[in-house]
Each structure stands twice: as C-alpha cells, then as structure tokens.
C-alpha cells in the first residue's frame, strides 16, 4: 500500500539558511500534519492542513511556514535556521472526513534536518 512520502530524507544546512521540506500524503488523504521530534524527545505537533486550509496550529516558530497545495502535498518552509532546529520532521496524513474514528494519522519516514 502507498505510504506517506517525505523528501528529502536527510538535509544539512548552515545557521541562518533556509530549508524546504516536502510531504506527499497517501492517495485520497486530504489532511496533512507536521511534527518535530528533537533528539530523545517525543514528536511535537507543529501545524496541520485540511483541504488546503490550516486546521490547527501548535508550537511552530514564526520563522516556519507551511502550506498545502491543490494536489494535497504540503511543504514546510524554514528560514533563519538555528542549531535548535536540528530534528526529525515528520509528516502524517489522514482522511479528514470528520467522522468518528476515521482520522487515523499515518506517518512518513521523516526528514532529518541537521543545522551546523
């Protein structure tokens, strides 16, 4: 079965540079979530989109922005990178039909961002 695709899988950047992470949801899924997992930490919710509109927002820095496109893929843009942004960034997708029990989130393999 098709899974969530994230690219790139690994990314190395210098401080103050910008980075763009991409997420391609499971086909027919219309909802995308972004999470950040620091070393030895649990995943922390950043932001989500449903039908190309932002549906929820967590602890996402102002330096980060994201959007969902017409084909439902999403991009997380990160500017003025800091050392503390080094983490594993997960994208998850779900079928956001708003019915009970259908919004199971399926996670991609993650993008490991290293800021030097």
């Amino acid at each position: 079965a098709a899974g969530v695709i994230q690219s790139p899988r690994h990314l190395i950047k210098e401080k103050r540079e910008t980075a763009t992470l991409k997420c391609y949801p499971i086909p027919r899924h219309d909802t995308v979530y972004w999470y950040q997992q620091g070393p030895g930490q649990d995943p922390q919710f950043l932001i989500s989109f449903y039908e190309k509109m932002q549906s929820d927002k967590g602890s996402i820095p102002d330096r980060f922005s994201a959007q969902q496109f017409s084909d439902y893929h999403s991009e997380l843009n990160m500017s003025s990178l800091e050392l503390g942004d080094s983490a594993l960034y997960f994208c998850a997708s779900s079928l956001g039909t708003r019915l009970w029990g259908t919004d199971t989130q399926y996670f991609g393999p993650g993008t490991r961002l290293t800021v030097l």
């Binding site: 649990d42 995943p43 009970w100 919004d103």
Partner: protein, 114 residues
C-alpha cells in the same frame, strides 16, 4: 488540554517474556488513543488504536491494548516478545471529530535481552 504520561522511560525484557507498557492520559472528553512504534532512525508505525467499542483492542505484530476509563489508562501488552520488538513505543491521544493533532507521551524504549 490533553496529555499523555508513559511512566517507564526504558524497559528491558528477555526474549519470549511477556510485556506491558504503561500509558496514562488526561483528557476531558472521550479520548482517541493510539500506540505507535518507532525503530531507530525510522518513522512512526501505527500498532493499534481505540476510539469506541470493545475496550480490548488488537493490533499488528501480536500487540493488544486495553482501555480502562476508570484508570485513564491504555496499556500495551504482548504475551511473548521477539528480538525485533526492540524499539521506542509512543502512546498518543487525539480528539475524536475532525483532523486534530496528536499529543504524544515521552516514549518507552524497549530493549530485548537474548
């Protein structure tokens, strides 16, 4: 706001032994509960989920979990672990109704002794 506590940071069991990983949640309404497993350097794989109905939920890889509302718990169990079960296990809670974020516990790292 919802929260999840996994009291055990690290658990070691022998191969073939039984396993129980603890998870306690805090949520005002009916929770939507998940267990995910993460192998080193890998993504999060869904083991099982609970949102209503039978409180004993069966998942993949021989895992099961029991929802106990009175104890606000959703413990994960496996009768006999295999070396390949060594990984990090995360319990998470989400809201029913709509596309909502998941709140994860701190994770429990499982080590298997041969």
């Amino acid at each position: 706001a919802q929260s999840v506590t996994q009291p055990d940071i690290h658990i070691t069991v022998s191969e073939g032994a039984s396993l129980e990983l603890r998870c306690n949640y805090s949520y005002g309404a009916t929770p939507y509960l998940f267990w995910y497993v993460q192998s080193p350097g890998q993504g999060l794989q869904l083991l099982l989920k609970y949102f209503s109905g039978d409180t004993l939920v069966q998942g993949i890889k021989g895992f099961e979990a029991e929802f106990k509302r009175s104890q606000s718990s959703f413990n994960l169990r496996k009768p006999s672990v295999h070396w390949s079960d060594a990984a990090e296990y995360f319990c998470a809670v989400g809201q029913i109704q709509g596309a909502q974020k998941l709140v994860f516990g701190q994770g429990t790292r499982l080590t298997i002794n041969p």
